[in-house]
Amino acid sequence: MPESASVGNAPDGARQSSESAVTRFFRATEIDTRMLGMLGALLLIWLTFHFFSDGRFLTPRNLWNLSVQTSSVAIMSTGMVLIIVTRHIDLSVGSILGFVAMIMGVTQTQLLPDLLGYSHPMTWVATLAVGIVLGALIGGLHGYIIAYLGVPAFIVTLGGLLVWRGAAWWVTSGQTVAPMNSTFRLMGGGPYGSIGSFWSWVVAGIGCLGLTLMILVGRRNRTRFNFPQRPVWAELTLIGVGCSAILGAVAVFNSYPWPKGIVRRWAAANNVEVPDGGIFIAHGIAIPVLMAICVGVVMTFIATRTRFGRYVFAMGGNPEAAELAGINTRWVTMKIFILMGILCAIAGAISTARLNASTNAQGTLDELLVIAAAVIGGTSLGGGVGTIVGAMIGAVVMQSLQSGMVLLGVDAPFQNVVVGVVLVFAVWLDSLYRRHQS
């Protein structure tokens, strides 16, 4: 029927001719300008720190450390995106991390040695599994109270913040648990907790191949249905930029060598002669970073390619519409919190492995970093808007600020002032951008 029902819908050709080359480029490549702005801001932060630290910021060593320090918060921020997208909040992630980390510490130091034997190679798997199940149960409990009993998420997770922090103390009466199992510790990074130069290049290769395949498959599908296509040059640009970024990052990680002392010990243990100049053994990608990347890929898949993800965003956009469309919104809400609990457990494993201990204060204030990362990464507190990648980049921004200031010797209290100001400023900028868009 309605021929003229298409109000304000000029044919595409007419619209394009009035656009500048820059606008046309962004439309053709479908690059998110907001995301680009964030990457620009990150680059600016890096260059500023690099300049003021006399060139100590943009070094393989510092960037490698930055990547390891970011991974725990980055992992949790991917779950926070889904929570904020559905107009909820989770203030308890730091405490959940603390409690689960404490249980994982006790599990591997006190329970598993009796069950599996001391230093069993599967210790880390069993520990992580215990943590993930526990995280899922805690998240499920929160989700149940929020979705089925109708208590606001703010209150439930505020309660959770207190309860799980207290529970973490309860497990060992406040004692620190250490040291951790040697295989478990690999999840914390360090020279042994990295995959080395060769495997890093393999990962890079898989990444580039995956990116190219994704674009090709998308193109083939659209051809099959005769849909409008991105121009070929735009696809090639995307592949080129994406692959360069992946290869560049791996090149940086691969140029950070093991410290001399560790090389010597490793050489002695493996009967290798160390020449005068020493041996260059690259760190490569750290295992926690690899875990964060995997979480990012899986969460992006969940958010964009599954029904569950579609429901999460639809519920955030219009909860009533989701309900009327027949979506079981309560169950979806509960699943989101279960997912958050699982992510807290994975983040907890990384932070425990890095510290080589479970402590009482572990994860304190992490909830604020995680929320800040998601929000700086473009997740709208109004609901319905957010990306996994954005939140992870947001986590890198937060961590860059912190470690940059440490590098410059900024006093700890003043670091908090800066981080707070940046958070408010970033969200203000974002709201300006969005208003300009609509």
Binding site: V7, E320, L324
Partner: protein, 274 residues
């Protein structure tokens, strides 16, 4: 039940026999905080019939049809679909009976695109269980192409669309899944005169395809052009219903304003004697 042909339908546009009743709602009630929003209301709908539901704001029309669409649960009474008693506890149940609803608010998820809205809750999936966005977009283009041939903004969230375009998305969603029973709550409220006429054409087309329609509207001209029967609600009660060609507009206004049933109408519990 016999399948009517278009010719038969034209000969017997009204007063159809109970054998072809698609929906029978009897004595349904719902109250919010002690106020009877719908009070023992009953109404039938025949195959291929358009029944207009009229009444003031707050008369209970939207609430009444939301009981059928599963958004609200009736506190009593029965609903029979195609002769069998139906339990409609939520929107999913209603959809399973072939009941689709175009809500007055449109009920669109503003932040996702047209195809995602059309298939919300019923997404197509690939053999691997992932969303089959390409197939959904293909069907969306097909259906939207019928409703709104110049529509091309499939990649944009529906909040970027015009009022008329959003309305066509909501209509497309209702007709996408071969609905047998269609509920349209003020489907032309957001539209200009020309688009309103086109929705009218669509309703006639759907009626010819044998789809039964509940139409809520404020526009009495529209109602007289499109509906086979009018039903009027007042204060949550059914005043009565009458074949459109047996009553005048003034008589229908009398039903809406005064609750007074003309002789041709079947009075309901809300009718008063003047």
């Amino acid at each position: 039940m016999q399948t009517d042909t278009a010719a038969q339908k034209e000969q017997t546009p009204v007063g159809m026999q109970s054998t072809d009743k698609v929906v029978e709602m009897s004595d349904v009630s719902i109250s919010f905080g002690g106020i009877h929003a719908v009070d023992h209301a009953s109404l039938d709908l025949h195959k291929g019939e358009v029944v207009a539901l009229l009444g003031h704001n707050g008369a209970g029309k939207s609430t009444f049809i939301k009981i059928l669409s599963g958004a609200y649960k009736s506190e009593g009474g029965t609903i029979r679909i195609r002769g069998e008693e139906a339990l409609i506890n939520n929107p999913r149940d209603a959809k399973a009976y072939g009941i689709e609803t175009i809500y007055q608010t449109l009920a669109l998820a503003d932040n996702v695109d047209t195809a995602a809205n059309l298939y919300l809750g019923r997404e197509l999936r690939t053999a691997w269980g992932t969303l089959d966005d390409v197939a959904m977009e293909a069907r969306a283009r097909e259906v939207m192409g019928r409703l709104n041939p110049r529509f091309e903004r499939f990649k944009e969230p529906v909040k970027a669309l015009s009022g008329g375009q959003r309305q066509s998305v909501a209509i497309a969603r209702a007709i996408l899944f071969d609905a047998q029973i269609l509920i349209m709550d003020e489907p032309t409220a957001a539209l200009g005169p020309q688009e309103t006429a086109q929705v009218g054409d669509l309703i006639k087309q759907l009626k010819q395809d044998g789809i039964s329609i509940f139409l809520i509207s404020h526009d009495i001209e529209d109602v007289f052009e499109l509906a086979d029967r009018v039903a009027v609600m007042k204060n949550g009660q059914m005043v009565g219903d009458a074949p459109t060609h047996l009553v005048s507009k003034d008589e229908v206004l009398g039903m809406i304003i005064l609750g007074k049933c003309p002789p041709a109408a079947t009075p309901g519990p809300g009718a008063i004697d003047l």
